[in-house]
Amino acid sequence: MSEIITVRNLYKIFGDNPKKAIQALKEGKSKDEILREYKQIVGVQDINFSVRQGEIFVLMGLSGSGKSTLQRLINRLHEPTSGEIVINGTDIVKLSQNDLREFRRKNFCGMVFQNFAILPHRNVLGNVEFGLELQGVEKEKRQEKARKIIKLVGLEGNEDNYPSQLSGGMQQRVGLARGLAVDADIMLMDEAFSALDPLIRRQMQDELLELQARMKKTILFVTHDLDEAFRLGDRIAIMKDGLIVQVGTAEEIISKPADEYVRTFVEDMDRSAVLTAGTIMLPVKEKAFTGDGPRTILRKIRRHGLSGIFLTDSKRYLKGYIKAKELAEFVEKNKKKEDLKMDKSLVHEAASVERDMPLNEVINVYQEADFGPIAVIDDEQRLDGVIVRGAIIAALSEGYEIDPDNGEPEQASDDEQKPDDQEKSGDAKKSGDAKKSEQ
């Protein structure tokens, strides 16, 4: 992915003596000190980051952290005090007003605002065609485009309605459509969903992700809501006092916070929405193979003190789950039988999740599985790891740091050796076995 926006050494000082303020910042004075001593307000300071083509990059911070200021610097609604903003190879800080206007038309899908900022005197169609109208696109062409986008955002049939007739969610769809109607790469969204009620917000986030999958814009999204940031952002920049404290993916930030501030910040975060099954799973210690006989499986279970075991075939494909108690009773009942085979009734359907399922959904599965172990499978249904109660509790508890490496399944080698372990008549077709993971 190539970098579409690169920001270097960007400062924004509000006040009449920005040079002095920057000087003081470089001497290590804080934002508050500069406000007190020089009456200059530090908007953002020493900003360096880049945004890649086609990603959703979230600027996240509390109010006053400079996130909205930074966003408005990117399209120069605010004039930078110093620094470079290179977009598609052009340093926009150096552009004249006329060139800047042209540049905005070509590169930005306008902006989407918290309070929608759509024109009350125009109907939906009139609002959506606004950007194209400013560019002088002829009426027929721009309306055709606008209608297409209106359909895309699910507002079909509302073309002639005025904003006052629409709900908040619909108004924001108009705002979104107005941006998408313009053929440009970069979309700026400022707290775009913050004014919507939680259910609608959630829905709009999903729709944005869906649209993004199709449109592949580069989105710079500002929010104060960590859940939203983690849900939407491919990468997230956390801001504080006009500085970027950390840039990274949701999992990087939550598992390796850069400093105490980020750590306390993400503590309040709903970790279960960010962590995935892949991050918290443990390697499979032992599993049963389809060729194993009941006694072999029972031995495996006992050796590790398990309450059950997952059953796979020799290629690691998940075949089921066997409960220790049932198996023990079965073996006991058939004590005298020499050539005991696995009984179908012993093999239950295994609870399984895919690696990228968020923890909060994993918990639902965990509940449905009667709090037994859950198998983590890859795209092809192969057993990758297990999730047990201890891992879930650990992941949810505050301050617990997950080491992403820890979740890596280690059983690849395991796999090769176990098949030999099979009991005598390995052909027992449906005999299964399971392997289970500890808990």
């Binding site: 399209n75 905005r104 306008g110 605002f113 309070n115 900022a117 005197h121 125009r122 109208e133 400013l134």
Partner: protein
């Protein structure tokens, strides 16, 4: 207390004298324009049969303000005709419309400019205060000196009094356009005039129309004062009633002024509401 006196009165008197003697041509041209406008309005309306004009006004009222007001307009206008004040009504309406036209031509651009330039706004504000609070009689005298007795100083006095609310409300309306709407226009790469005509003025339109409404109302309140310097119309009838202690006659003319005020108010208020409703 002071050993000297600041000669404001001399400055003003001399200034007015100077203007009257040196710029007579300009004032004459302005007079001609005002007469042209008022006469055309008046002749145009008088050329119609009263009933035809009543129907036209009622139709406009019906569209802008609903059938109740339209019914009121028909009855009120028929009453004016019945008590013999029809031509005075038309004359006053022509005067008010002319003054309002001038008010809009001057007020809208000044209001827009004041909203965009803080420096200009700080200059304009005290001038507006002056125009609204300086007693009308004070500038009636120089107006008469510039334009002579009659219609024109009446229109000028009305103009001076009716201009401030339009400038103030235009300025206010544009300043109140949400910041995000302007930012949105900028973010899409709007030019200055695109921003003004596609965003700021349309969004401010309800407030601007309230300014138009207010300036018409204030203009009507000047009708009697304008009549003192010979502007004619309903004001003259009111004045005659007062001077001759003919209470009834004065009341009738005053009543017709009120009828006109209500009709004009509802029509212009309707413009503002229509804009915000759609």
């Amino acid at each position: 207390m002071f050993p000297f006196r600041i000669p404001i009165k001399d400055w003003i008197s001399n200034g007015v004298d100077y203007l009257v003697s040196e710029y007579a041509a300009v004032f004459d041209a302005f007079s001609a324009l005002v007469y042209f406008l008022v006469d055309n309005f008046k002749d145009g309306m008088l050329a119609l049969h009263p009933l035809a004009l009543i129907i036209v006004i009622a139709a406009i009222t019906l569209k802008m303000a609903g059938w109740r007001v339209a019914l009121f307009a028909v009855l009120g206008l028929l009453l004016s005709e019945n008590i013999g004040l029809w031509s005075a009504f038309v004359e006053t309406l022509a005067l008010v419309l002319t003054a309002e036209l001038l008010v809009m031509v001057v007020g809208l651009p000044v209001g827009v400019l004041a909203a965009r330039k803080d420096g200009f706004h700080s200059v304009v504000r005290p001038v507006l205060d002056f125009m609204q609070t300086m007693p009308a009689f004070v500038y009636l005298i120089p107006a008469v000196m510039f334009f002579g007795l009659g219609l024109v100083p009446g229109v000028v006095a009305t103009f001076v009094f009716a201009l401030p609310p339009l400038i103030r409300l235009t300025n206010l309306g544009i300043r109140q356009v949400p910041k995000e709407l302007v930012e949105a226009a900028d973010a899409f790469g709007a030019t200055g005039s695109q921003k003004l005509f596609k965003v700021q003025i349309p969004v401010a339109m309800p407030t601007i129309m309230a300014g138009v409404n207010q300036s018409i109302m204030l203009g009507l309140s000047m009708v009697v004062i304008a009549a003192m310097i010979g502007a004619g119309g309903l004001g003259e009838d009111v004045l005659r009633g007062i001077q001759r202690l003919q209470v009834g006659q004065g009341f009738e003319a005053g009543l017709v002024v009120v009828i006109m005020a209500i009709i004009l108010d509802r029509i212009t208020a309707g413009f503002g509401e229509q804009d915000s409703a759609t």
